[in-house]
């Protein structure tokens, strides 16, 4: 299983995916960190069969809500937060689908964000959700490792 945390440390809650990946590493689960730009993301999961992408999202839910989407389906349009390059995580997934480069199993863990202010800290609710996501993913990774 490959875990990829996406986001930008300088944009408030957008750091959630990166923090989750870092926490997973502390828990002994290898995790990659990626800005979320489409080509880079496709490259990062190249050759992997079972991938979890973690990213901050804005769907209108309560900040800190955890969403899990199955990458074999189109992601909700609200996920498509415009990134600086116009091609972010949602676009990367659709691009991979079009190119036949989706991993056999892809799950997207979305952490509902409250704000993406430049240079701001991660909101407490999001920090908590990040911890929860990391623990749940680590539990799955460990059970896979044992089996």
């Amino acid at each position: 299983m490959l875990v990829i945390g996406c986001g930008n440390r300088q944009r408030g809650d957008d750091a959630a995916g990166i923090l989750a990946a870092e926490r997973l590493r502390e828990l002994g689960v290898p995790a990659q960190i990626c800005g979320g730009e489409a080509a880079a993301l496709l490259e990062t999961w190249n050759g992997a069969n079972d991938v979890i992408v973690i990213d901050a999202v804005l769907t209108g839910a309560i900040p800190g809500t955890l969403h899990i989407w199955d990458g074999s389906q189109a992601l909700p349009s609200s996920f498509s937060v415009s990134s600086t390059h116009g091609l972010g995580v949602a676009e990367a997934i659709e691009l991979a689908r079009a190119l036949g480069r989706l991993p056999a199993r892809l799950r997207v863990w979305g952490i509902e964000a409250a704000q993406f202010d430049l240079g701001s800290d991660v909101s407490p609710a999001i920090r908590q959700a990040t911890e929860q996501a990391a623990l749940e993913i680590a539990a799955e990774a460990n059970s896979l490792a044992r089996s």
Partner: protein
């Protein structure tokens, strides 16, 4: 709703551009009453951040202005500071910097040609929709971009906001062997770029020619990247240090980005078309031949054809990168150190989107007293508005959705980097309240 009376083209969020902004065009019958490219990306204030910092920090601070063209910021910064300090770099460092810049051109041009611009000509909403029908083409784009990224990573330590460029050279220079490892990829990239020229030349372009003042660097015998005199097709031929004597930045109410004009004249165009038209004979043979075969000869005055010119520049960048890795021998030292002194230094380099001007005034300790940065997109903003004034009139009779789509496409020809100009762009078409259709 498509009457010939007053109406307004509005695009609230222009897609497939770098940054945030919007477009507003007000029509009065077939006449364009007003065009505003509104840049609401917040001001960046980098020039103020730089004051009081040591000049060696300028390349790394200014690289943060853009995630697409950080190398351009680093290159203009190092050259300007070196000019202030009187540093003359080693020829091997100069060659490495050209290679570094080629990496950025390859990734930026590949991204724009294929992922941002091509969908406009093939009538797809975006690159994802295009990928469904043109898989090998999008795969080619991704591989080209990756090769550009690899060059930047190899020389700069990482792909985005690279770290190794510094005043006087690099913190670390690669071995010859390391660079040679790029060769196979670059040979493929050169072929892919030639294919890109052929492919883009086969697209259909609107008939839209304008009388531009093209402004670009010109070097005695190289296609311009890091140095040269600043020239135009209207007789401008100056040392880059005279830039501010000839160009003026203006504040406009509707935009967070400044507009630039040539003093005593008006808007001007920077970027691939300007470079190509002013430096055609300096292209390496392989690129010039590809251009001619694609039917491109200067002057190209149709901005929509800039996608083909960008492809020709992709050929140049791959060919130049191959030359650089072939000729490279590591310098005696990665960088030349120089003592601080009071001085002013200016530099212009050719970012993928056009000329990028930096000026630094330094005190005796090397601290920055004043900084000025003029990015390529802010220099093009007024020209974009001028183009839209003409182009909107041509498409005025079309259904509103189509007219809007066409105007957006016109803006995308510039590959605007609104992040650099401040930072975003947004375009709108809707009936004007005052309209009587």
């Amino acid at each position: 709703m498509n009457g010939r009376g007053g109406r307004t083209i509005r695009v609230d969020t222009l897609a497939r551009v770098e940054g945030e902004g919007s477009l507003y065009i007000k029509m009065a019958g077939d006449r364009v009453a007003d065009v505003k490219l509104k840049i609401f990306e917040p001001p960046r204030l980098f020039e103020a951040f730089l004051r009081g910092r040591h000049c060696t920090e300028a390349p790394d601070i200014t690289a943060r202005i853009c995630g697409i063209c950080p190398v351009a910021y680093q290159m203009s910064a190092v050259h300007a500071v070196e000019r202030a300090l009187g540093i003359h770099i080693d020829p091997a460092v100069r060659l490495l910097r050209r290679l570094f810049y080629c990496g950025e051109w390859i990734e930026s041009h590949a991204l724009h040609i294929y992922m941002l611009h091509a969908p406009d000509f093939l009538a797809y909403e975006d690159a994802i929709a295009m990928a469904r029908d043109h898989r090998p083409i999008v795969e080619r784009a991704l591989r080209l971009k990756k090769i550009g990224n690899r060059i930047v990573q190899l020389l700069g330590g990482r792909e985005i906001h690279p770290l190794s460029a510094t005043i006087g050279g690099f913190y670390k220079t690669p071995t010859k062997q390391t660079l040679l490892e790029l060769r196979t990829d670059l040979e493929w990239a050169l072929e892919a770029s030639l294919e890109t020229v052929r492919w883009t030349a086969s697209l259909q372009f609107p008939n839209f020619e304008q009388d531009y003042e093209f402004v670009a660097l010109r070097h005695p015998d190289e296609y311009p990247l890091n140095e040269g005199r600043l020239v135009s097709n209207r007789g401008l031929d100056i040392d880059v240090a005279e830039y501010e004597d000839h160009f003026l930045e203006l504040h406009v109410k509707h935009s967070n980005a400044l507009h630039s004009v040539v003093r005593g004249r008006s808007s001007y165009l920077v970027g691939p078309l300007a470079r190509f038209n002013l430096n055609f004979e300096r292209l390496p043979d392989v690129a010039r031949k590809a251009a001619i075969e694609a039917g491109l000869r200067p002057p190209i005055k149709n901005l929509f054809r800039s996608i083909v010119v960008r492809a020709v520049e992709l050929v140049f960048a791959c060919s130049e990168a191959l030359r650089a890795i072939g000729e490279y021998e590591p310098p005696p030292a990665p960088r030349i150190e120089a003592s601080s002194r009071t001085g002013v230094g200016q530099a212009i380099t050719e970012a993928p989107r056009g000329i990028l001007y930096h000026r630094y005034a330094l005190d005796e300790k090397g601290l920055i007293l004043a900084a000025k940065i003029v990015p390529p997109t802010s220099q093009n903003l007024k020209r974009i508005e001028d183009d839209l004034r003409e182009y909107a009139a041509q498409v005025a009779a079309w259904p509103i959705e189509e007219a809007t789509w066409k105007c957006e496409q016109a803006v995308r020809c510039y590959d605007p980097c609104i992040s650099c100009a401040t930072h975003f762009l947004k375009l709108v078409v809707q009936p004007d309240d005052a309209s009587r259709g």
